[in-house]
Symmetry: C2
Subunit: 663 residues, 2 copies
Amino acid sequence: KAGPRDELHLEWSKWVLVVVISIGVTFVAYGVSRGVETLADLKFSLVNSYIKTGDFVTAGRMFVAVNAILITVPAFLVTFIEPKAKGSGVPEVKSYLNGWHLHRAVAFRTMVCKASGIVFSVGGGLIVGKEGPMIHSGAIIGALISQMRPEKWQRLGLPYFGFLNHFRNDRVKRNFVSIGCACGVAAAFASPIGGTLFALEEAASFWSTKLTWLTFFGTMIAVLVSDMLMTGGVTIASAPVISFGSFEGPLRDKAYPLMEPYSVLQIPIFMLIGVAGGLAGALFNQVNKWLTKKRQSYILGNPGWQMLEAVAVAVLTALVLWTLAYTSPCIPERDPHSVERNMPLERFACPEGHVSEGATVFYSSLDRTVKHMFHSLHPFSMQTCLLLFLTMYSLANITYGINVPSGMFVPAIITGAALGRFVGEALQSSGYSVLVGDIHAGVFALIGSAAILGGITRMTISIVVIIIECTDNITYCIPIMLTIMTAKLVGDSFNKGLYDLHLELQGIPFLEEDEDLDFASNTARLKVTSVMSNHPVVFSEMESIDSILDVLANCTHQGFPVVSYTEEPTALNQSVSVYRHHGAQDPRVMLYRGFILRSQLALIIQYYLETGSVTPDYQWFVKWYPRHPRTAKLTDKLIKHPPEENWRNQLVDLRPYYHPGAQ
Amino acid sequence: KAGPRDELHLEWSKWVLVVVISIGVTFVAYGVSRGVETLADLKFSLVNSYIKTGDFVTAGRMFVAVNAILITVPAFLVTFIEPKAKGSGVPEVKSYLNGWHLHRAVAFRTMVCKASGIVFSVGGGLIVGKEGPMIHSGAIIGALISQMRPEKWQRLGLPYFGFLNHFRNDRVKRNFVSIGCACGVAAAFASPIGGTLFALEEAASFWSTKLTWLTFFGTMIAVLVSDMLMTGGVTIASAPVISFGSFEGPLRDKAYPLMEPYSVLQIPIFMLIGVAGGLAGALFNQVNKWLTKKRQSYILGNPGWQMLEAVAVAVLTALVLWTLAYTSPCIPERDPHSVERNMPLERFACPEGHVSEGATVFYSSLDRTVKHMFHSLHPFSMQTCLLLFLTMYSLANITYGINVPSGMFVPAIITGAALGRFVGEALQSSGYSVLVGDIHAGVFALIGSAAILGGITRMTISIVVIIIECTDNITYCIPIMLTIMTAKLVGDSFNKGLYDLHLELQGIPFLEEDEDLDFASNTARLKVTSVMSNHPVVFSEMESIDSILDVLANCTHQGFPVVSYTEEPTALNQSVSVYRHHGAQDPRVMLYRGFILRSQLALIIQYYLETGSVTPDYQWFVKWYPRHPRTAKLTDKLIKHPPEENWRNQLVDLRPYYHPGAQ
């Protein structure tokens, strides 16, 4: 039916939609980022005004109080407005792309709560990141914009092009969610390729060059727009919304050292860091799983406790960080012209001419601390690195799971950076560099981040590319890859990735890839009998309204096979497409014809209700998508306003509607 | 049957095999690269020895003669030894990964001829690149190593692990070919991510995170090993086998300018270059298609003409380049301390204190010329750029299709670099930079390369990533992507990509991705009747040896449906799985049961021949894979040595062998 002109129109609609989605996602990401900055600036300048007077007791109290107050906002949003806004959102996106319709996971309210909540979570000093929520918001924007009804487009004053109706179905919606999610990654990390691969890896479905190219186009627009927003001008050099400082390229802060080549002899060290990351990640996930179970038993469902827990964690975090910053030893300030002063340390509570490593890393935003670990030429003491690692590791663990929006990327990166920097500083001071070539502690921090990130999330190729792109650093591709591989291998031998664990704990099924798809060792090990019910609920090709309503009311399945009946054929009935009817005394066998969805059946009856006819066309289903009336309501209405006397026996011909595939 | 221990063993076998394949591919790529260098060095130093004496006539004659002689080698290899070694090999790999078994496309002899031939093609001064053949060689190595028989492993003194037998089937072989091909790309361009995406884009099949990760691991090893080979040491910074000079990163030649940020206002110019690239690419493909058709009519099948044509093209190329180098105007040499002397020009036939732009770009290896276009700060004259563009564009066109191994990447890159540099120099000299910010002619050359590459090959995401990785340049991701997108869009409105055109001309079918998979506009437009034969050749579930041999001898199909017969069932026969038997007078209908391959049938008969039984087990098929005996031979043997008297009527039960899917 569709002519070449329509095809072209449809084609253009897609690209236009991707641009709109991409810009939308970027603006949300940018808004979150600026919100966090503004909030943090206000908080630190308030506390700093007390520090300047030397009144550290009041300053400390202010610090704790402000953080506690800020955290009430996201805790309130998640507890009372939209529980789906909790946590990182990556597990929700993952399960959605995997085909599981999690209720309200891609709803407008969820996005609003998530995006505004994360501003206060991060601004309130929790050990959380804002990228997970950005990715989730991106996915939601992809769903919302692509599925908008004509009425809404017109109400918003936007030009409506008729072809958007073609996008209103599950499969296409999922494609746009995947594009939105990719744009979220891209905007957050300035990572167009990483974003595209993230969507592919998480969705784990069919590779389509066209969809990939469309996704890549979206991520690219996202990077371009976020670049323009961040630099406030027309000069572009990939400025990420979240930046840990570029290791290479024109935007590299000239104070940062250029990335150096590495020696093959360092690779075993990188892999050992990978092992450490895998172990630490597995332990992290195990403890967090235990904590989450405890939370589910004691706190879940009690709003008061949930609010209290969030605030308690915020107070604890603020107290710990403040104490560590305050009690950290003071060291003499370096010569102001020394190369090691490329990123000056903070003075905080130290006497004139002295600075404190502890205050620099603990009394600061997380991003800034990561930058110190990655780029500072100052030789951090091993104690500071170790303390930072342990603190962040424990705080991040108790934080992930409280009732606020909270991402896991930055906590993992900061924990890993501390671990890696620790190794780097240890090697540097031990003179080990004679054996393996120059040691750059910042590089080890980067590798450490990759290790912990791999150990906790167990993601693979997309994480490698995201790290490369967000640090503008193509040189360390191989070490990063090897480290993540090692971390994943070690971690996987203990437990699942954090996102998968949380999906499991929430009871959400996840369809894993089938290894055998690629490397079959034996022929199909799965037997038909193990997936087939002995007494399937089936429909004939012609069914009465009454029997349809009966099945819909008494069976919760979302779809049903449609069969036709035949006399027993002469050949052996061993094919999957022929099976015996339930009653063994019935001599007929059923021939499988196709599959019909609950929603289709409900909508056919709704059509019958409204028009008296049982042959709705395709547009009818599109119009209702993704909703369909409930069975009880349909039955009620039919009883009250029957379209014809004998409605119960009205036959419905299912043949035009069932899906003949899926045998 | 397989226990967890076996699974682990199988898992490890894969990774080990990938390492072996990866190292193999890299050594071949490195060998080709060194071979080309050595040959070119010898040739240029021979000719230079005459140039030094000022005898340009003899030097020119030598140049032409040496090139002509060198080209006889690849022409001989392709014409007389292995015709499949001709051309780039990317179309062959593409069609193989797409599921088409091109005879000898992944054979050992093809690889030897291709790898050794390309050394002489490039060394002999043709306008060809060595990457396509490297990729093809990589794919072949993937096939060869993964499919090696136990005997061969042992003969080579390698430890044989039993699980390799599990890899001996079409699907797994294709996976390893795809990994080998990715390693080829990675080794050639130092592009691990680009190589992985190349394999995904060309194969266009199911996305599997595990396979992708395994591929990425392979490409990474390839880059690591090629890095160690190239630098001859342990310091790694991604040195590609083929280098056009790094724009960023630690390995960047300090003489090259650092990549600069760009202005959004330059993006329209980049897109215009994309339009030009699309148009030029479409014209290139159209002319090359016409040329190929002419070749197929007049030259194909005549070895003498094929050899002569190759030598003639070599002579023509050498003559044109030499003449252009010789007649190019001399310009005064710059101040030796000037920044513009970052890459000195050649003096060639110019008087003392003068240099020649023409000699620099025409009398040089192609890689070196590309580096000049990308990185030189010397303001090349617009005439030189235009002349370079036109020369390379025409020579590349007549060259692609002659009977030698020949890649298309470098010709496209050099043509595009000349075009882009032309635009850059024009903008720079016109003072247009006031409007759009600093113009860097080298950046425009890079964009031009992307445009022509996109316009000719029509590849998408993988080409973008390859260009980014092989120039160590993450900053220009977005301009490169937009340019390629524009070029592809423009080009696609005229004709197909070069590789697809050549597949078409060779009559090889290619299964395109189905757009509707992603964005369905209407429901399935393909009717069953349009793909179904009216009188299919079918087997019953029990067939006699005689009738099997009869069908195999008289029908060339590679596989056959297996059916069972039944009386006409009562329901309407509208399902695809039920169709009427050929003779309309036959009242029975056939029930589709499954599908059996010609090779399976032939091997069952072979088993019968050897053992007298018709029930071979799975190992029997594995042992023979991928070969099977010819029908005529089987019939002969059966007649000569019948296993039993009444062999013609021996019934074979096909039920354990047919594939019940594929309905």
